[in-house]
Amino acid sequence: MATTIVFAFLIAASLVLAVMAKKGHHSTDVRDFFVASRQFGGFLLFFLSVGEIYSIGTIIGFPGSIYAKGGSYGIWYLGYNLLAFPVAYFLNPLIWRAGKLYDAVTIADLFKGHFRDKRGGRVLELTVTISAIVFLVPWGQVQFGGLIIALGGLGWHINPAVLIIFAAALAFLYIVISGIRAPAFVAILKDVLMVVAVVITGGAALSQAHLSNIFHSASAVSNHLTAPDLRFSMSTIAFQAIGYFMLPFNTQNLFTAKSEQTIRRTLMFMPLYMMIFPFLVVVAYYQLGLHAHLNAPTGAFMAVATHLLPPWVLGVVVAGASLSGLLVLAGLSLAIGPLVSRNLFGHVPEQKQRTAAQAVIVLFLGASIVMTLVAPNMLTTLISTAFFGMTQFLPGVLSIMFFRRANPLAIAAGIIVGDVISVSFYVLKVPTFDLNIGAVALTVNVAILIGGSLLAGHRQVTPVALRGAVMPAPGE
């Protein structure tokens, strides 16, 4: 009971925050709704970014995967999350610059703007838009799968499908209230609660057993990477780190930044936020050391929390974990909205755009829910599946920055072939010498992009990185 009361109070508080976020910003401009008129400074940008980067996949999925797959399995997850920031420090200011130049809200807008005068620009825009939406479904699935486990901590004993629909409704509510400003403000509460949840649960495990005992009693599990593990880990770290900011919601959050310098300043501190991971590793090893059998290995984090914490503290943990899932669902919906209204149906009247966007968001949430219920999978595996598709955008984005002769049709062909290879190799379990499937597909993608562009090569567009930084407009 105490668990439910604390949980309900904190969720209510998050809704109040969402309402407050709207105050003073009554603009109905679509750009304000989706990228907050590019007004966010480092503080909000930091929280919005880490708020959506560290989703429920981190708090629930990461310890779950260590528990299920053994100690060293967590290494690739840490590695790609970490390496993403140094990559982003150099790449993101350029993406932001292109965004500013082309007045972009979505990642597809970058392609639309850059190739607007070229044949095939529209084809590329549609290719990016559709594959972005499709590969967001596993990301939605991660949130719903995690939410079922987190909300399970409330001990309500109700059908997971009901929990999921409840969660989807809440996520929808945040964005209806105030667009991207709601997730940014709620993110502050969510981040505080999530850190508290992780530290409390990790601390509880540490109070039960000395650190060295936790890692000793779990020592039956392998802490050594085999040669195939190494190939998988190294290729996955590299592949997912470079794809990090190709995730449409990450790109979109990036566009909320005030300036290139804001982005650099923010990214410098991002790796420090990862100090929550040691606590998650402790929780996973603690559960491993208990040698108790869990019906759902993914539930390792909540199993420890439920087992060790008093009811009201558990309420805080459930709220923290749930908010991290809800916030990301809100962010996903906010990423899909403009992909549909601007890129898919940019040519139809605004009223119809809005209806179409809402319909696709509902469709997306529905597809994620159905996939969660009929094809449950390890959360970390689902994360990797999303990257199979998302990282395929990177060669195209780099072309916008640096490649004068890039041809939009060649970029589109590369993305499509990359997606098809990733998915078919994954489904058919084609051996790739233990390398990340997406990385293998990416090499083919790059070959098609470069080969196709050089063969087609006619009119050229000046790459963004060679145009110099964008000066602020007067009065900005």
């Binding site: 290494i75 920031f85 650190l211 890692f215 050594h224 310098q261």
Partner: protein, 64 residues
Amino acid sequence: MLRVFVGLGIPLIAIVAMLPVVNEVTFTVFNIPFLYLWMFSWFILSSVCLGICWLCFDRHRAEY
């Protein structure tokens, strides 16, 4: 070039290229496997690398 090496090259070498080497180290603290100790320390060291980049190269860029 030095800027990219400090900010991206060093973390890349540490996090990806060094993995096979780090994997062979059996040293532990409180029984925590060295692979984890290594990754944890790079949470801070990556930030330091980017901090150096910022202070030495990027701090004085115009505020666009």
